[in-house]
């Protein structure tokens, strides 16, 4: 069951603890080395096939939250004993140094800047990077590369140089590289930034075809309206709302309090999303 708004401070009451949950975050907090608090008492759950949008003003902690999903933050992960729980749980595995390789396979992370993620000279090598690290056999790697590139409409791009791609193509190659690891959860940081309308539509089409859960940190509220089944409002490191996009994004007072605004398509009375 989901509530439209969670008052700050109340968290554990609304946690889903079923084994179907792909992601379980409970009381997550984080402060930067300088002492600035980035996240405070964040709690929510993502079920199988959920598509969750995380929205909020700049500096709210969206990217920081996402970096916790595959153990890139905090910089030193604890070693947990059997049965011990952690603030972040992925597919039933608590976030710890021991579970990290498996968690990183299950969470496919798409970074905001494709140049940070496209680090091999050719497209084929870059998409094969993940499967190579999984120590798969040569044929399996080749198959995955082919399938992932086909899934992002870039079939035959294996030998292309990564230096000669357009912005949309770069984003899609990054996504292919992530898909090649067959993740259960896609974590996307501002996926539509710097994309022209056509590239944006292409990316959206690929995301709709993905079989699995997605968690998307974005400023693109129209993307949330079109694609997400749930939205979480994050501000100053705290969760201020968690529910259906239709009700939350239409709440003008809530939007403006947290540095956002009602998306255009909802303002002019566009189709409601169920």
């Amino acid at each position: 069951m989901m509530r439209a708004v969670i008052p700050p401070g109340l968290n554990s009451k609304f946690r889903m603890t079923t084994s179907e949950s792909v992601l379980n975050i409970s009381g997550l907090g984080y402060s930067y080395p300088g002492g600035i608090t980035a996240l405070s008492d964040v709690t929510f759950t993502v079920a199988d096939n959920d598509v969750v949008g995380i929205v909020g003003p700049s500096g709210a902690g969206k990217s920081t939250l996402l970096l916790h999903l595959n153990g890139l933050l905090p910089q030193k992960l604890p070693q947990l004993a059997d049965g011990e729980s952690a603030a972040v749980d992925v597919c039933g595995l608590p976030m710890s140094a021991g579970h990290l390789p498996e968690i990183r396979r299950r969470v496919g992370f798409l970074f905001q800047d494709p140049d940070d993620q496209l680090f091999c000279p050719t497209v084929g090598e870059d998409v094969a990077f993940g499967p190579l690290n999984l120590e798969l056999g040569r044929e399996e790697i080749d198959t995955r590369v082919r399938e992932s590139l086909a899934a992002v409409d870039l079939a035959g791009f294996e030998t292309r140089s990564t230096l000669q791609l357009s912005a949309g193509e770069r984003k899609r190659v990054c996504l292919a590289g992530v898909l090649a690891c067959r993740p259960s959860l896609l974590a996307l940081d501002e996926p539509t930034s710097n994309l022209d309308p056509r590239a944006r539509r292409g990316l959206l089409k690929i995301l709709r075809e993905f079989r699995g859960s997605q968690i998307i940190a974005t400023h693109d509220l129209e993307l949330v309206v079109e694609h997400c089944s749930r939205v979480i409002v994050l501000d100053e490191g705290r969760v201020h709302a968690d529910g259906a996009p239709d009700s939350i994004l239409r709440d003008a007072a809530l939007m403006e309090t947290h540095g956002l605004e009602v998306p255009l398509s909802l303002r002019v009375g566009g189709p409601t999303n169920r």
Partner: protein, 333 residues
């Protein structure tokens, strides 16, 4: 600074190549314990940066050409000696294999001079300086400036030795070749010291955490080997500044004195061009043509270079006032 195919004999190329390969292999070995999985992206990025940075123009006073960064000490100050050496090696490899800037056969010598001695040796000098003058912001810059100049001089001196070896022509007085090379490179060294100093002073004020600190990385300390390299570098500098002008091309020391008297006739024919650019005008008339002054002036050029480097370094240090708050610390993109 890059040696092309031609000046060096094949034996020297092979020898320096083997030395360079050994040193690079050792650097890789030392890196395995240190930066661990960060090594590949950081070092690759630093190579790209040095390569790009070498194309930035620095104006020179009174000259139509511009100065450029070499980057050995810069790489070592940020990444440490071993990664710095690898970064410079990569730059040299790409420059050679893709742009033919530096000969194939001379790649070993170039890596040895600029990567190994330039970066590892430069770091050793830098670390020793910091130990004596402190580890603050100003001291870091001073140490980097000194290390940059010395690394250029050491590389130049090494090139002279490599050039001398196995070139059996006896009609050449290699002392003069040395003197010319060393004087010229002391000027290049001042440029490199200035550039490195300015860049490091900028970086250390904005992001002091980027400066390499051996305390975090166990294998970064230069115990034992480091002291040896430092001693070697300082010795090389000393030789460059003080002994090179006196080096005789003749193996037999006893004959050297006899030949000196023959040099007098050659001295008089020294083209004015050289005297104007590399020698210091003598204060006393009549000294200009003497062999003693010729040698002394080159040596003085070396010492003057060293002193001006220290003065510059101290000037940098004084110009840096500690800021109230570290600017840009933890600044997220």
């Amino acid at each position: 600074m890059h040696i092309v195919d031609g000046p060096l004999s094949p034996e020297v190329c092979l020898g320096t190549g083997l030395l360079a390969a050994g040193a690079v292999g050792y650097s890789i070995h030392r890196l395995k314990d240190g930066l661990a999985d960060r090594t590949v992206p950081l070092t690759g990025m630093m190579s790209a940066l040095v390569f790009a940075g070498q194309m930035v123009n620095f104006p020179l006073i009174g000259a139509p050409v511009s100065g450029h960064l070499i980057g050995g000490v810069l790489a070592a100050v940020i990444l440490g000696p071993w990664a710095g050496c690898l970064a410079i090696t990569l730059v040299l490899m790409v420059q050679c294999l893709l742009f033919y800037d530096g000969g194939f056969s001379a790649l070993g010598a170039n890596i040895l001079n600029m990567g190994v001695v330039g970066s590892i040796g430069g770091y050793a000098v830098y670390a020793v300086c910091r130990r004596f003058i402190g580890r603050g912001v100003g001291s870091t810059v001073v140490a980097a400036v000194v290390a940059s100049w010395l690394s250029v001089m050491a590389a130049a001196f090494l090139f002279c030795i490599e050039f001398r070896l196995f070139h059996g022509s006896s009609d050449l007085d290699f002392g003069k070749v040395f003197a010319l090379m060393v004087s010229f490179h002391s000027l290049i060294g001042i440029g490199e010291a200035l550039i490195t100093g300015t860049v490091i002073s900028f970086v250390v004020r904005q992001r002091p955490d980027l400066i390499y600190s051996p305390d975090e990385h166990t294998s970064g300390t230069l115990a034992g080997a480091g002291r040896f390299v430092t001693a070697g570098c300082i010795a090389a500098m000393a030789v460059a500044a003080f002994v090179a002008p006196f080096a005789s091309g003749h193996p037999d020391g006893l004959e050297a004195v006899a030949h000196e008297t023959e040099f007098d006739s050659l001295q008089a024919d020294f083209p004015a061009l050289l005297l104007d650019e590399y020698a210091i005008p003598s204060p006393v008339e009549g000294w200009q043509e003497s062999m003693l002054w010729q040698r002394l002036s080159v040596s003085l050029a070396g010492i003057l270079g060293t002193v001006s480097v220290f003065v510059m370094a101290i000037g940098f240090g004084n110009a840096l006032k500690p800021l109230a708050t570290p600017a840009g610390a933890g600044h997220a993109e």
